[in-house]
C-alpha cells in the first residue's frame, strides 16, 4: 500500500498550484479552475485518510465535495457571464465598484 505521505504531498502540491493560480492570474475562468484544483486537493486528503484508517467517512465527504464543486462551478460561471455582460471583459481586477 502506498503510504499516506505521498498522497499528502500530491494534495499539497495541487493546493499550491491552485493558490498560485489565484494569486497571479486575472482571468476569472482561470480563477475558477484554480479553486477547483484546491478543492480537489482537499478531496485527495479525505480519500487518503479514508484509506489510511480503513473507514468510509472520508470517501462519503468526497462525494459531497464533488456535488458542492459542481454547484460552485454553475454559480461561478453564472457570475462570470454577468461580469462579461457588464464589463465586456472577465478581468477580475476591473470590477471594483462593489465595495462602498
Amino acid at each position: 500500500m502506498v503510504p499516506a505521505e505521498y498522497y499528502l504531498l500530491l494534495s499539497a502540491a495541487m493546493f499550491c498550484i491552485g493558490l498560485f493560480g489565484i494569486l497571479t492570474r486575472r482571468n476569472a475562468l482561470l480563477f475558477l479552475m484554480s479553486v477547483e484544483l484546491m478543492l480537489n486537493a482537499a478531496s485527495i486528503n479525505f480519500v487518503a485518510f479514508s484509506l489510511q484508517w480503513g473507514n468510509l467517512t472520508g470517501q462519503v465527504f468526497t462525494l459531497f465535495l464533488m456535488a458542492l464543486a459542481a454547484a460552485e462551478v454553475a454559480i461561478g460561471i453564472g457570475i462570470i457571464l454577468v461580469l462579461y455582460r457588464n464589463f465586456a471583459d472577465i478581468d477580475v481586477t476591473k470590477p471594483t465598484t462593489m465595495r462602498w
Binding site: L19, I22, L23, R26, F31, V92, T93, P95, T96, T97, M98, R99, W100
Partner: protein
Amino acid sequence: MVSAFEFVPAIAVLPLVSFVVALAFGKWMPKKGALAGIFATAGSLLLSIWTVLTVAGILGSETAYHEEIWQFATGIGTFDLHLGVFVDPLSSLMLLIVSLISLLVFVFSLGYMNDENETGLPRYYASLSLFSFSMLAFVFADNILMAFMFFELVGLCSFLLIGFWFREDAPPSAAKKAFLVTRFGDFFFLIGVVGIFATFGTGLFVTEAGFPAMAEQAISGEMPGTVADFLEPLGMGAQGWFTILGLLVLGGVVGKSAQFPLHTWLPDAMEGPTPVSALIHAATMVAAGVYLVARMYGFYLLTPTTMGIIALIGGFTALFAATMGVVKQELKQVLAYSTISQYGYMMLALGSGGYVAAVFHLTTHAVFKALLFLGAGSVIIAMHHNENMWDMGGLKEKMPVTYWTFLSGSLALAGIFPFAGFWSKDEVLYEALIHGLGDPVILVAWAMGLLAVFLTGFYTFRMVFLTFHGEPRTDDAEDPHGVRWNVKLPLGVLGVLAATLGFINMVPVAKLTGAHIDFLHKWLVGSEIVNAEFLTGLHVYEDLLPYESAYIAGGEVPTLLISAALSLGLALAGVGLAYRLYAVPEPVEHTKKLGGLRTLLMHNYYQDEYQVWLAEGVTLPLARVADTFDQGIIDGVVNGISSVSLFSGDRIRRIQTGVVSNYAALLTIGLALLLIAFGIVGGWF
C-alpha cells in the same frame, strides 16, 4: 338559598356585556343598541335592589360582603394587587342610584337620540354602557387602586360621550378639556395611590387590614410595622404625612367632582348629548369624586386639616358656582353651575363631619339633577335644539308633563319644603353649623354655603320662569315639537322621587317628634358586622370625628329649627325675587343692571382665561426651556457620539479596494502567518 352578594359583580358586568353587544352588533339591532343597554341596566337595577334588601338584613343575616375576585399581580415579599368587591350600606345605596339613573337615561335616550334620527347610535349606546359599567365597578371597588382604575375609565367614557358629535367644533374641544382638566387632578390622585401603597403596603378600604384602620392605629400611637418603616427615613409625623396623602387623593376628587379650581371642564361638558349630561352630573362622573371621599372617610377623619380644606373648598365652590349660575342664558349652563354648586354642598358636608348629610344630598341630588337634565332635554327637543332661555317662555301649557316634573326637580334643587333637596341641604347646613360653632374654618364654609342657598333659589326659579312661564318669545316656543312616552316616563319616575325622596331622612321631624324616621341615618349606621369588622359603619366614623358639636339658643332642637328656618327662608327669598323679576309675561334681562359684575360672571371670573394663561404663559415657556435642554444637551451628546463613529467608519472603509486578487493575497498571507504562529507555538522548528 343563593345570596345576592354572589351576583354583585354581575351588576357591573351586565353593562359591560351590553357595551360589547352594542359595539359589535348595534348596527343591525332594532334600536341601534339601546335595547341591550336597557336590558342590561334593568338587570343591574334588579340585582342592586336585591343587594340593598340583603344589606338591609331582610333576606338573611349576612349584611355586608367583601371578596377578592382576581389577583392580577402577586408580590413576592411585598403587597399584592387585586380586584375585589365590597358591599356595605354606602356602596349598595350607590349601586342602586347609579343603576336606576342609568336605566332611565337609556330610556330617555330613545326619545332624545333615536327619535331625532341621530347617527352613530351604536357608538353612543356602547359608550353609555361602558360608562355605567365603569361607575358601578368603581362603586363596589374594595381597594384604592381598583377605584383609581375605574375612576380613569369613567373619565375616558365622559371624553367619548362629551365629544359624541365630533364633527362639530365645540364638542371635541370640550371633551378634550374635560379629559385634560380631570386628568390634571387624577395625576395627584395617582401619586396619592402610590403613596398609600408605599406607606401601608395595602390599598384596601375596609377591615383591620385596610389603610384607614392602619392609619388610625398609627395616629393613636400603636404604629404598625410597615407604616413605621416608611415614616422613619421620611422624618415626618404620621399626622403630617397622612394629611399630604389625603390632599393628593383629594386632587382627583376636586377634578372629578368639579370643585374649585378644577371646575372649568363641567360647564363646557354641556356640549355632549343631554342624556349624557344627566348621567355625568347625577350619578356617574361627578358623583365619583364625592363618593371616593365618603368611601375612605375613615382616613380623612384622622386629619382635621384635610377636613377643613374639604369643607372650605366645598363651601366656596357652592357659593362661587351659584353666582355664575345667576347670569347664564342657556338652560343647560344654569344646570351645570347648579351641579358644581350642589357638589360643593356635599364636600362641605363631608368636610364638616356630616357623613350622612353628604350621602343624603348625593342621593337626592342624583335624582333631582337627573330629572332637571332630562327635563331640559325634553325642552331642548321641543325647542328644536335651541337652548337659550330667552327664546323660550310659555312652555307650561304646551308640555305639562315636562313642566310639572321640572317644577318638582326645581323645588328640590332650590330646597323648598317638603321636596327632597330641602331635607338634604338642610341637614348639610345643620351639620356644618353645629360643628362650625367650635371651628371658625367650618363656620366660614357654612356661611358661604348658606349664602349660596339664596342664589340657588334665585337662579333655579329664574330658569323655571324664563323657560315655562310668560308669553312664548319665539316661533319655536309657540309651536314646540312633541315628546313621546320614552321621554315622559323617566321624567315621571324621577319627578315623583324628587318630591318624596327626602322622606327617607327627615331629621328635623325625627328630632322634634322623637319618631325614628331618619331611615338613611339608620341605614348608614349599618349592622354589627359593618361597624366591627369592616369599619365603615357610622359608629366608627362618629368615634373618629375631630369636631365637637355646639348648639345655639340652648340645645339641639332650637338650633335645628333655626338652621332649617334660615335655609328655607333664604331659599324662599331667592324664589320670591325670581318670581318678582321674571314671572311676568315679558321678562327683561334684569341681570344687565349688575354692570361690570355681570361681565365678570358671564366670563366665569375669567377662570378659563387664567387657566389658559397658566398653560400658555407659564407652562409653555417652561416646556420650551426643557425642550431646548433636551434637544441641545441630551440629544447633543447622543448625536456627538454617533458622529464620531460615522467619521471613523468613513475613514476606515478606505482599506477596501474591491480587487479580488488583493483579498485572495491577504487571505493567503493570513493563512501563512497563522501556520507560522502555530509552528512557533507548537515547537515545529
